[in-house]
Amino acid sequence: MVELVPTLLRQELTRLAEDDIRLDGRGQWEGREVDLEVNCLYNAEGSAKVVMGKTIVYAGVKFELRTPWPDRPAQGSLMCSAELRPVAHRKYEPGPPSPESIELGRVVDRGIRESGCIDMESLCIVPGEKVWGVMIDIHVLSDGGNIFDACGLAAIAALRTAIVPAERFDVGEDYTLKVKGSPIMASFTRVGGRYVYDPSEEEELGGDERIHITLGDEGHLHSLQKGLRGVFTPAEFAEIFGVAHLRCAELRTLVANQEGN
């Protein structure tokens, strides 16, 4: 069955793209306003809420004591997962984690993990016996487009405010988790033939492939992902890579300012 609305929407987006116009009036590389709130959940050891247009995402950090992996006896562990629950949009169905939510969680996980912002050895309590497991759970409450960037931002902001609950687990005094740097994601979707930054819900519905770029403080790449059907040229990538540096730096400042409050 041909989905009628996306077909019409796609035509309209293509028509607008010829004049370099976006449906909501933004410029090609212009993001929506981002509202970030940290320490907003009472039972989480670190938490953040991100609002970007109609997208609302929460992230919460929890810790648990576990035995280390046999091949890394002196390292703790980090796990980041995302849930796309039916609360977030009528398109999401109940049931076990969908491929979409697994991809989302893993892309955010890679960006944080590979940036090295968490020193895994600092999470070791007794080598070979007892280490901290850090769990970042991301909860999408409203999908209004570009949940990848919202989830990435909420995850790192929550992590950066986390307190290790050592007293509750009887292994010393509580302390602030040491996080070095802020990996930030920037996402682009092809809409009407050209890429745009921070796609809205409509742009995702009537668009094509998407590219997610996670950059560390030094501007190094830590995670890349191309999703959905479509191809791109190296020249196109070079252009969005340049944009990603600018947008990531802005969001990194936002994260830093939020912590200062």
């Binding site: 959940l41 009472y42 039972n43 989480a44 938490s47 247009g53 109609k54 609302i56 929460y58 919460g60 950090v61 929890k62 648990e64 997962s81 849930e83 629950r85 039916p86 609360v87 977030a88 949009h89 009528r90 109940p94 076990p96 984690p97 769990m135 759970d137 909860h139 409450l141 409203s142 999908d143 209004g144 509750r168 819900e201």
Partner: protein, 242 residues
């Protein structure tokens, strides 16, 4: 391990550990229409509990075998976020959340004019973001406001409230310590205009007199929360937005 009676829950001055009176509920705030993707939504904070509800529909009921020829079905999912409690909860449905979802759906089907929408489904998603005893009540209240926000016709709102017993004393609205170490918990869903009850659970030990007093407290609290619910819905539509 501490059990009934091992933990002191009432102070010598007769107040509770958090300074509340016996028949005083925790502060409640409600905001309607907080989720842009949903047809109706609400956030309820009740003490430190945070409950969010989203409503989608009425929509076609799938699979067909769940359809009712004469009315809509209400499909409720109550879910606690992994970070909502002291120890992380593994994501996914468990026996507790399934039971709460079932009785919450049945309570809501008692007030929604389901006969207006034969063969359709109304989806109600309840997400608990922070839990401190009383999440099913906060979730029920949020669901009722979200249904009203979605413009779905109802006979009345439902208010979720609970009373219980600690140190042989009936108290309104148990907090976490009182819930863990108390002697009884009586969560109910009250229709504030008709005075009927659509949701009822209880565990612990209550005498008939204690039950009557607990219900009296519940009705008193329901009237207070009802005012806050109506205010939230009015605020949502003030100024002609949406």
């Amino acid at each position: 391990m501490a059990g009934y009676g091992d933990v002191k829950l009432l102070r010598d001055d007769g107040l509770r550990l958090d300074g509340r009176k016996i028949d005083e509920m925790r502060p409640v705030t409600i905001e309607a229409g907080i989720l842009p993707a949903a047809d109706g939504s609400a956030m309820v904070t009740h003490g430190l509990n945070v409950a969010v509800a989203a409503v989608y529909g009425p929509m076609e009921a799938h699979p067909r075998k769940i359809q009712r020829q004469d009315r809509a079905v209400i499909d409720v999912r109550y879910n606690m976020a992994p970070f909502s409690t002291s120890d992380r909860i593994r994501p996914g449905f468990n026996r507790r959340s399934r039971e709460i979802s079932k009785v919450t759906a049945e309570a809501l089907e008692s007030v929604v004019l389901v006969e207006r929408y034969p063969r359709s489904k109304i989806r109600v998603e309840i997400e608990i973001l922070a839990a401190e005893a009383g999440t099913r009540c906060a979730g029920l209240t949020a669901a009722a406001v979200a249904l009203a926000d979605a413009g779905i016709p109802m006979r009345d709102l439902i208010v979720g409230v609970a009373s219980g017993k600690v140190e042989d004393t009936v108290v309104l609205d148990l907090d976490k310590a009182e819930d863990n170490y108390g002697q009884a918990d009586l969560p109910v869903g009250i229709l504030p205009n008709t005075g009927e009850v659509a949701f009822l659970q209880m565990d612990g030990d209550l005498s008939p007199d204690e039950f009557n007093l607990a219900m009296e407290y519940n009705f008193k609290a329901a009237a207070e929360i009802h005012v806050i619910m109506v205010d939230a819905l009015k605020r949502r539509y003030e100024g002609g937005e949406n």
